[in-house]
């Protein structure tokens, strides 16, 4: 059996006196879409940052493609990150660069392509997310949904094997949200990428997820397919899935 794309083993993490993750263990198979559900502030985003190595765990271990991320030196960590894409909740576009240069940034940093090639590739990426013609605009000129799409284009630039996505539909209208979800599913199937998506938007989760997990008070209280979770013995999980069924 191949290594799982991501594996958490008894991971705990706290900020000051606040415990965010308590002894969390799970794994994500390569090429699947894994959706993390949970209430706001339940530590979902922290898990994404731990996978990417932006935050260090207090105890336990995290392995990405079999490599323990906590034990990598800075160069190995950088190498691992080149195979990851991260879409932040606020998109986190660099204010000092234009939209197109934001997308081109990872290519410029991590490849030896010529300037023209990079521009071409960045334009393609922008086109893919429906932002053709926005290359020279400043990020501040874009709407929230467009920024998110530009952020996605940047995360996709290095054709990552693991895509980490924080709240893809937060602050977006349902139609835009649906478009982005569709885009993610397309990417998963086309590039055989692993998706790790954090959301509390149930319709969005239903559209994307192969596997789901529910995080409550630092514990992973349920894990499985959508069907399995709907049958879960935990009342809270069932309520959570139902609450937004209409939305």
């Amino acid at each position: 059996m191949p290594d799982p794309a991501v594996a958490f083993d008894a991971v705990s993490k706290s900020f000051g006196s606040k415990e965010v993750l308590k002894n969390v263990t799970f794994s994500i198979a390569a090429g699947t879409a894994f959706v993390l559900l949970g209430r706001s502030g339940s530590g979902k985003s922290v898990m994404l940052k731990i996978i990417c190595g932006l935050l260090k765990v207090d105890s336990g271990s995290v392995a990405v493609h079999g490599n323990e991320i906590t034990k990598l030196d800075s160069q190995q960590l950088a190498e691992t990150r080149r195979h990851m894409g991260f879409l932040f909740q606020s998109a986190a576009l660099f204010d000092s660069l234009s939209v197109g240069e934001n997308v081109a940034f990872p290519l410029r940093r991590n490849t030896r392509k010529t300037d023209a090639e990079i521009r071409e590739q960045a334009k393609d990426l922008l086109q893919k997310v429906g932002l053709d013609g926005e290359y020279d605009h400043a990020p501040s000129q874009l709407s929230g949904g467009m920024r998110k799409r530009a952020g996605l284009a940047r995360a996709l630039a290095m054709e990552p094997s693991i895509l980490l996505i924080d709240e893809p539909s937060a602050g977006l209208d349902p139609i835009t949200s649906t478009e982005i979800d569709q885009l993610l599913v397309d990417i998963k199937t086309k590039h055989h990428a692993t998706l790790v998506v954090v959301t509390h938007n149930i319709p969005s989760a239903r559209r994307i997820a192969d596997q789901m997990a529910f995080l409550e008070d630092g514990h992973l209280v349920a894990q499985g397919t959508l069907k399995e979770l709907e049958q879960n013995e935990n009342q809270l999980v069932r309520d959570f899935l139902k609450s937004q069924q209409a939305g």
Binding site: K49, C52, G53, L54, S74, A78, E79, R81, R82, M84, G85, F86, F88, Q89, S90, A92, L93, F94, D95, F105, P106, R109, N110, R154, L164
Partner: protein, 255 residues
Amino acid sequence: MKSSEAALEWFGGMSIFSGQVLRQSFARPVELTELLKQTFEIGWRSSPLIILSGLAVGGVLSIHTRATLERFGAESMIPTALAFAVVKETGPLVAALLISGRVGAGIGAELGGMRVTEQIDALESLAVDSFKYLVITRVLACVVALPLLTVLMNFSGLAGGFLAETMISGMSFSFYFHAAFSSLGFSDYIPPTLKTMVFGFIIGTVSCHLGYNATGGAEGVGRAATQSVVLSSMFLIIVNVILVKFIFFLYPGAG
């Protein structure tokens, strides 16, 4: 936590941060493009401010010096007195304070903003060493730009002094500059200019530290910007006292 404890803790964090800056400044690879960009922002963009302030400060100093020296009939000492005042202390210190205001606040706000909008995390996620990319380049740019801006300040200060003087007494350009530099020794000129590298390091590190580690949203960004100016100005004034003493210790003749 008591405020004194908090201050000490902050100072400890600051020291560790400075140590990291020093260690990483010489580690390869160098973010050359970004360094040039920051030198442009901090150096070139500050030069109009420095030149104008220099002219004004030099002019005002010259007018005051004249008022005093006139009483002793020592008007011909004006260029010498002004050169000493500007080159040895006023130029370096005023340049550093101006830059701490302009650049310190800028760095504090920029890095603070990047921190709270996750741009720093985004850099890291794109396999970029954000510390080297953002902090080292800014600190180095400050260290490089400050002595250069000080030179600019010194010369525009002397030029301002000359304009003020020649308007009153019609003193000639060549006499003025010859008299200004004739009493200066190398020890009056080089150490005070080079000591501003330390000022640059202080401005860069303090404001990067505050911005890079900012928390608390938009409000936190504002706080980082304000504190960058306040703390870097304060530190550089204190460090200046030590440096002046130190230079005097190294070059007793420079007093």
